[in-house]
Symmetry: C2
Subunit: 360 residues, 2 copies
């Protein structure tokens, strides 16, 4: 197995990316291809105390880098020799089994859709991070790829999330829920009400296990394994949870620093608190799967350091071993609806570029 790693994108590229990739190579047993400026990458490898390229590590030269100032919708077309573009082309052409990038989310999403393409029949790719909850974690889909959604998108997200939960969380029959402002079926906006009907029908057909509406609080307390929503609402949930966690961890720090007694107390419990902080902190965990793309693409956090890159590569190895795209293909008839929804699809920049990737 071979994982393509965009070595030049992210706040800590290339040093931390290269470091994480070499560590993952040693640990996961998968080969890695680093895309980017060969000279820079070799200098990183040298600075890590390795004179030459370790076995199982390749470099694929790319002279450009896509950064946050580039228009996400057109970045891979404008910068054809960027580390991200080169990586996506390699993935499409079979020169790797999965790809990891800590670059611009929008550029990666548009680029993956344009170059690697969506699974045929999938309307939109979605971002699906694993959110910590009392049961370990659940998959939130979508959390930012599609600001405006139709009920059919949400139906497809449910299947994508369910298959991914089986692979990534090791669950059989993951509990799929719709994020809503109450549990009654009539809750929410027309989007939630129409999606509820489609999800209920899909649940009745037995391929996914739809358990109804779930509120944000119950999701955090373990009520579901997959939480389906539009990208706007999912983003608000994700960021609110991150903010609340960050607030509490920072208040705890303040408490521990407040006196001699609390400082001693902190020493006694330090490793547990650090583990909890790491669990709640997206920066230290792995990456977010872009689901619906025909091959596995993982977005690592922009601020990723080596451990997060290692985690994202582990995810990539696991995703490359799963047959999610094939399962989506096999179940496509259950995931498309001929009924014209009253809710039109939103068309922003990123989404237009996705349409170019595969005309609908």
């Amino acid at each position: 197995m071979k994982i393509i790693v965009d070595a030049m994108s992210g706040d800590n590229a290339p040093v931390e990316i290269v470091k994480g990739a070499l560590e993952a190579r040693a640990e996961a047993g998968a080969d890695v291809v680093l895309t980017g400026r060969g000279e820079d990458i070799l200098r990183c490898i040298d600075s890590l105390g390795m004179g030459k390229l370790p076995q199982g590590v390749e470099i694929s030269d790319a002279t450009e880098v896509i950064d946050m100032d580039d228009d996400p919708a057109t970045a891979v077309r404008v910068k054809k020799d960027a580390s991200m573009t080169v990586g996506l082309n390699m993935l499409r052409d079979g020169h790797g089994d999965a790809m990891v990038s800590a670059g611009s989310t929008g550029a990666l999403l548009s680029g993956a859709t344009l170059i690697v393409k969506r699974v045929r029949g999938i309307r939109r790719a979605a971002m699906a991070p694993i959110i910590p909850n009392s049961a370990g974690g659940f998959i939130l889909i979508d959390c930012g790829a599609n600001t405006e959604c139709t009920p059919e998108y949400l139906l497809q997200f449910a299947f994508m999330g369910s298959f991914y939960a089986e692979d990534a969380l090791g669950l059989s029959a993951p509990r799929v829920a719709l994020l809503n402002n109450g549990t009654e079926r009539a809750k929410g906006t027309p989007l939630q009400r129409e999606a509820y009907e489609l999800l209920e029908k899909a649940g009745g057909e037995g391929t996914i296990k739809f358990i109804g509406n779930v509120e944000g609080k119950e999701a955090m307390l373990g009520a579901c394994d997959v939480l389906v929503t539009d990208g706007f609402t999912g983003n608000i949930m994700l960021k609110s949870v991150e903010g609340a966690a960050s607030l509490i961890m920072s208040e705890l720090k303040g408490i521990y620093k407040s006196s001699i007694i609390t400082k001693i107390s902190a020493l006694m419990i330090k490793k547990h608190i650090l583990a909890l902080r790491a669990r709640m902190d997206s920066d230290t965990t792995g990456g977010t799967m872009l689901l619906g793309i025909s091959k596995p693409v993982i977005k690592a956090h922009g601020s990723s350091k080596a451990p997060a890159i290692r985690g994202a590569i582990r995810q990539a190895v696991s995703a490359a071993g799963a047959a999610t795209a094939q399962r989506l293909h096999d179940n496509m008839s259950l995931m498309t609806t001929q009924v014209r929804s009253t809710i039109a699809s939103g068309e922003d920049g990123e989404e237009r570029s996705e349409n170019n990737g595969e005309p609908e």
Copy 2:
């Protein structure tokens, strides 16, 4: 000053409500009127060790109780002699300066709109809880009263929230932000984009201080004093924050219980952790203002015990002393827009009942 307290609504009514009201009476110096079954209320007072009605406490007899099975939109019309209905009528008629109820949110919202009425020109009442953040707290408006909103509603929420932040948080020129999935002005759905323009214009006119889009994480870390959103999104944020806080506090408890060492550590820090838990827990704090109603109505949490009722009564006293309704009235010309939005107002049960309260 006299505060009307619905003694019969909520999970712990009437005992905890009566207890909280009597404590608030002693502490805040405001008189209280308890609405509900006189016999039950007198029995509670007796069980608290007081033989007779304390000075400054009245009972207003009401034979019925609105419960969770009643249709929120029609509850106060069907149960004319319910403790909530009687309280709202007293508030309208000037037999009290503010009202507190731990009853059904929907029934209280519809009832307040029907009986007490909105400030003339205000399109929708909104729920505005104070959410803890690193700076103390910010006001989230709306968080559940209006699932679907127009940009004009959001403009009015901004004014309502800003005036309330001045009164409740003691701020001058509170920083008003729009909850969005990014900070750029083009972010979000058409609702956010249209609201942004209205808010920017209002900010330019100087009555409110609009600081732009804010994401959920930054809001929790102190970026704004008032966070404006539709009731669906606000509800998702509120519940997600509650869920994350609940998850972390429960994980902490698990850590503290895990060994002798951690148990000793916990003892050393117990009072601080309990204080943090209380700060993050909506059940122990006060209530949520219904803003836009012509007189102050406070929704206490359904699971409120005496301390939360005391907190809600303190809020009621503060709100009764403020001139929020008058200020809304005085600034109404800045809060209405003649431009027909492309986004239609949603019309669900609760909202229809609001329209009956004041035809638009």
